[in-house]
């Protein structure tokens, strides 16, 4: 004998599609806590533990997630469509807002993608400064990731220590380009503005202070019994699963995949600096945390090496197609004024071609697939954000886990809504 029960959950309309059939008399299902104990829960899109606006709908048996599906798109800003409607120079502003925790890496990758299409060579000083910026952005992204992961699991002071170092980094970035978060610092062919004198020394001092602080932060959590119990063995994702889903970056390295685009596909001057690539073993939340902490130390080493090798020089290629003339040239010569006018009104033409340029962003492989048909605007601007592939695996990672473990997993795979939704 069956009885149909209509459930009203979270504003569902009363309709036959949402009814659930209950067996009467009840045949004992060993997984059922009590008769018909499954609950359908909607976690998000506004939820303290969800990073940005992410939604997960789960079927719970008590505290255990039996089945779930994830949804996103709540911060979709149509950057790919904007890429087709804005000139290449205008689009730099939109690239900051992709992975907003490490905006400089996005700027650097986009500039590299367009320079590759045009065959424009960037001067050496600009490349060294770009490397410093990219590694600084990586450090601050990792500090946010592990900080928020810790906050979700209850460790608040850890987050505050990391944020203090982030504020110091923001001050340095503000000295460099005027903005804290959305920097728009690189230009096609070079950089917007040179580093002020004495900036390298301040960066090296910051590196020393951050190293000390991160060592203190490490002491807070790594051998902490509560942290170990909450994170070891939680969210285990094996090598094969990572390869199936297209994981990259610290999430893949935490599971034992030894792939780092800075070492395997070297770009800029990464061949000339020494750094190690930390690789984890178990693929759980603890290993990803350890990989990120180790990567912070490696990035600090890279920054120190790059700051030592900075030589004075030009920071923007002199290629006429991409170089915006300086203001004294614009206001004093006719050619400069016309060049400036045409650059900003019409945009510069990128020759026909397509290229997929990747870089090791803080989260994984950030890629820009740009198809150009010869005009001032792209024909297709595709942004490969690593978070999409990572978020896809969350349902499988949380299969059979408790809700509290889901929170730990989500924090460890570092979803940034900006590059997820674009």
């Amino acid at each position: 004998m069956e009885k149909t029960v209509k459930h009203r959950e979270f504003g569902l309309p009363e309709s036959p599609n949402y009814s659930i059939t209950v067996d009467v008399p009840h045949e004992s299902d060993p997984d059922d806590l009590w008769k018909d104990s499954r609950v359908y829960v909607n976690i998000g899109p506004t939820h303290p533990a969800m990073h940005g606006a992410l939604r997960m709908c789960a079927r719970l048996n008590g505290e255990t997630i039996e089945k779930s599906y994830c949804e996103f798109g709540y911060t979709h800003r149509a950057k790919e469509k904007l890429g087709e409607n804005r000139t290449y120079h205008n689009f730099i502003v939109y690239t900051d807002r992709l992975n907003y925790c490490s905006a400089l890496i996005n700027n650097v990758t986009y500039a590299m993608a367009i320079e590759r299409l045009m065959g424009v060579e960037v001067p050496a000083r600009a490349v060294w400064i770009r490397m410093i910026c990219a590694e600084m952005a990586r450090v601050i992204d990792h500090l946010i990731c592990v900080g928020i992961n810790a906050v979700d699991l209850g460790a608040f002071s850890f987050f505050l220590y990391g944020f203090h170092q982030r504020e110091e980094a923001y001050t340095l970035i503000e000295k460099l380009c005027g903005a804290r978060l959305t920097t728009s610092y690189t230009r096609i062919g070079g950089l917007m503005h040179d580093a002020p004198p004495g900036w390298e020394k301040e960066v090296k001092d910051w590196v020393v202070r951050t190293r000390k602080t991160v060592q203190e932060m490490d002491k807070l959590l790594t051998n902490n019994r509560i942290w170990s119990q909450r994170t070891q063995g939680v969210g285990v994702f094996t090598r094969e699963q990572c390869m199936k889903y297209g994981f990259s970056g610290p999430n893949a390295r935490g599971s034992g995949i030894d792939r780092d685009l800075r070492r395997d596909q070297p770009v800029m001057f990464y061949k000339n600096v020494e750094f190690d690539v930390p690789v984890g073993k178990n693929g759980d939340v603890f290993d990803r945390y350890l990989v990120r902490m180790a990567e912070i130390f490696q990035s600090l080493n890279i920054i120190a090496q790059c700051a030592d090798r900075l030589q004075p020089g030009p920071i923007w290629s002199e290629d006429k197609r991409v170089r915006i003339p300086d203001k004294d040239v614009v206001f004093n010569t006719m050619e400069g004024m016309i060049h400036h006018f045409k650059f900003f009104m019409a945009g510069f033409d990128v020759p026909e071609g397509e290229a997929y340029t990747t870089f090791e962003a803080a989260n994984g492989e950030l890629g820009f697939y740009v198809v150009s048909k010869g005009g001032p605007r792209a024909h297709r601007m595709r942004i490969r954000g690593p978070s999409v592939y990572h978020y896809q695996a969350l349902s499988e990672m949380c299969q059979g886990a408790k809700i509290a473990d889901m929170v730990a997993n989500l924090g460890s795979i570092n979803i940034i809504a900006g590059e997820l939704d674009r």
Binding site: E9, F10, G11, L12, P13, N17, Y18, Y40, N42, C57, A58, R59, K67, Y69, E71, F72, G73, H76, A78, E80, K81, E84, N85, E115, R116, L117, M118, G119, V120, E121, V122, M243, K244, Y245, G246, I257, R259, D264, Q265, V267, M268, F269, P351, E352, G353, E354, A355, Y356, T357, E365, G367, Y369, V371, R380, R382, R384, V388, Y389, Q392, D421
Partner: protein, 189 residues
């Protein structure tokens, strides 16, 4: 000066380093799938950074599986799956960017498809192709045959139209009065 000009600080010697490997792979691919490979575009001759293999729809999944598993290819990493809207027929090109951890090289596989036609799904080769294919459906309207869950992903499920098509306006707003409810059917076993 275009993509064919190598820039030393941006993967300068990438094409030169892998050219021989790519030529060998191209020959083997053409001999294994003589009817499926429609065209190959090489980096030096055409304006591209990696070789592009144009594969016909009918044998797409076999070619992708061969590229993933065969010895000497081992393109195990699906880097990206997307589409572009060329405005001439056939209208859409579905693009697969593959990378190999073993040799460090990358290739691009493209399929041309007309409006209204379906493409076989790559989820049997890579599970991670699930969401990118949903995004291609959402943004371009290209359906994938055999996909387990063909729904919109970025836009609201009630959205009409496919935003990234060239004829969709940039400012084509559509507003909804209530949020999307939880879809209980997806959570049943």
């Amino acid at each position: 000066m275009d993509i064919r000009t190598p820039v030393p600080t941006i993967y300068g010697d990438f094409a030169k380093k892998h050219m021989e490997l790519w030529r060998g792979q191209g020959e083997r691919l053409k001999s294994t799938f003589p009817s499926a490979i429609e065209e190959i575009r090489w980096p030096g001759e055409s304006a591209t950074d990696v070789p592009i293999f144009y594969v016909s729809k009918s044998q797409l999944v076999e070619v992708l599986r061969f590229l993933k598993e065969a010895d000497g290819f081992e393109y195990q990493f699906l880097s990206d799956l997307t589409a572009t809207d060329e405005e001439v027929e056939p209208r859409f090109e579905v693009v697969y960017q593959l990378a190999s951890f073993v040799s460090g090289s990358r290739i691009r596989v493209k399929t041309r498809v007309r409006e209204g036609e379906r493409v076989p799904t790559a989820t049997s080769v890579w599970v991670g192709a699930n969401w990118p294919e949903r995004e291609v459906w959402d943004m371009f309207g290209v359906r994938f045959e055999g996909h387990p869950d063909m729904r919109r992903i970025l836009m609201d499920e009630r959205w009409e139209g496919h935003p990234l098509r060239k004829d969709y306006p940039l400012r084509g707003y559509q507003l909804f009065p209530d949020p999307m409810p939880i879809n209980v059917d997806l959570l049943k076993d």
